[in-house]
Amino acid sequence: MKRKVFVASSIAAALAGCAKITNGLNEWQPAQPILNSAETLNQAIIGTRGTARLYRPGDVTLDYPVNSLDTPHQPEYLSLIESDFTTYRLPVGGLVDHPQTFTLRQLRALATLDQITRHDCVEGWSVVGAWRGLSLGSFLKLVRPKPEARYVVFYSYDHDQSGQQFYGSLNMAQAVHPQTMLALDLNGKPIDAAHGAPVRLRVPTQLGYKSTKWIRNIALVSNFKDIFGGQGGYWEDAGYAWYAGI
């Protein structure tokens, strides 16, 4: 019996050692730039090509999951809900020749893109939704980006528990991809608060964490070094790859 206990505790110790080694390697800073070189290769080779599959109405997942931070609960967002988003304004600025602010009614008038696409979460699950909204590429033409604009940054109404604002970014190729959309409707109804009302991003050629919800304002920039953590997005600042095509 004693021997069994000894064997069992030795195995347990060895197994605990396993996690110690992999945890240590994971936190070993010199490895990080080497590991991140794979992201550069992924982006160079997979990049932003082709188009995501279009599904049929019967393929839609009715119970579209919510997997993000909580629905914003800041007074600014709550008052928007109270006004039924009639007070919503979307400023688009930064490196553009014609900065503008749009009302939801103006955005609705421009919403001509319908697509049923799959949303792939970084966690590994996926869901199909019918989206209606504006092609981001044609929308950006209205504000006339300057030649030096290389990224589009989307700021959200959402904040995490520490107060950090949620944000994300796309490069111009991703932004003008024909399927990249500022979405207003999900499955035939205006997007509800949990799913990113009133305006959210949908990028079917990228993982879901690039599809910023509850968009508050949009800015075109030449780089994102000086924005929050400097990695180009909330999840990127938390360690996820900026290139989310894989």
Binding site: A16, N23, Q32, E39, P204, Y240
Partner: protein
């Protein structure tokens, strides 16, 4: 030029049945890529289980669909405490402390799919797991490409690939392993079963694991919709990717068993130093 020439003095090439002759079996390229791929496969498997843990279930469908779930590892709270439940094709197994509710990689236990001692890193860190997985995915692909290109150029692959003429020797070789036959059939550098195994792993299983992994990437799907369709959809591909990982683990144990059973020291020496003492009925040709 002797095709087996290595860093030191070239050793003689043995003819078939020159048992006992020491030959240079594995070149520096073969040995290096073998061990690089070995390390890559360990990290890929462990970081893959880390990634799996972020959604610890598999569906045989295009999009997530609980009605078509083939595997799930769940942690459940019961009046008696937390339990881990593994559901395979609808059959529930209690797997507390191993799967579903298990080692959190930090000295405790929590609800998670695979335990911390088999994931990379041990604690739950999807972003970290993805970094290791994608980097070593490239290591696997590049080391594999070096081996294949070199192997074609130096004729190594023609010794390894299963040929129609090997097929009649498959059963005699298996019978020898099963001790139903005293002697193995005469063969070249690799015996017929080795050729079958390595051909399957190199040209079926490895491409399969790479493609099923790539299909999980929305950026790849956008240029490869027919491949996604062939695999039964994105979530189905995730299931196939998992199955391919199990097949690699099966190969690994079979491989190691045979390394041990057919002359451990001789085999290990051939893959570390390159030299190998030929056995009966063993040659160096195709």
């Amino acid at each position: 030029m002797d095709a087996t020439a290595g860093s030191s003095a070239p050793l003689p090439r043995a003819r078939s049945s020159e048992a006992g002759v020491v030959v240079r079996r594995h070149s520096l390229v073969t040995r290096t890529t073998h061990w690089v791929v070995f390390i890559a496969m360990i990290v890929l498997t462990m970081s893959g289980l880390q990634i799996f843990n972020a959604a610890p279930y598999l569906d045989a469908s295009d999009k997530s669909d609980p009605a078509r779930r083939v595997l799930s590892l769940d942690g459940r709270t019961t009046p008696a405490g937390s339990v881990g439940v593994t559901t395979i094709l609808g059959h529930e197994l209690t797997t507390t402390h191993l799967l579903g509710y298990t080692d959190d990689g930090q000295g405790g236990e929590t609800a998670r799919g695979f335990p911390g001692w088999i994931t990379f890193p041990g604690y739950q860190d999807l972003a970290g797991g993805r970094r290791w997985h994608f980097f070593f995915g490239w290591v696997l692909v590049l080391a594999g490409a070096v081996y294949l290109i070199w192997g074609i150029g130096r004729g190594e692959l023609s010794l390894l690939i299963l040929r129609p003429s090997d097929l009649p020797k498959l059963w005699p070789m298996q019978a020898y392993y099963l001790r139903l036959r005293k002697e193995p059939p005469d063969h070249g550098k690799y015996n017929p079963l080795q050729k079958a195994g390595y051909t399957l792993v190199l040209f079926v299983l490895t491409p399969f694991v790479i493609v099923t992994g790539l299909v999980l990437a929305p950026g790849f799907d956008a240029v490869a919709q027919p491949i996604v369709w062939l695999l039964g959809g994105r979530q189905f591909a995730r299931t196939w990717h998992f199955v391919a990982m199990l097949a690699f683990i099966g190969f690994f144990f079979g491989h190691v068993f045979l390394v041990v059973a057919t002359g451990f020291v001789n085999n290990m020496r051939s893959m570390i130093l390159g030299t190998y003492r030929l056995g009966k009925h063993e040659g160096t040709g195709p």
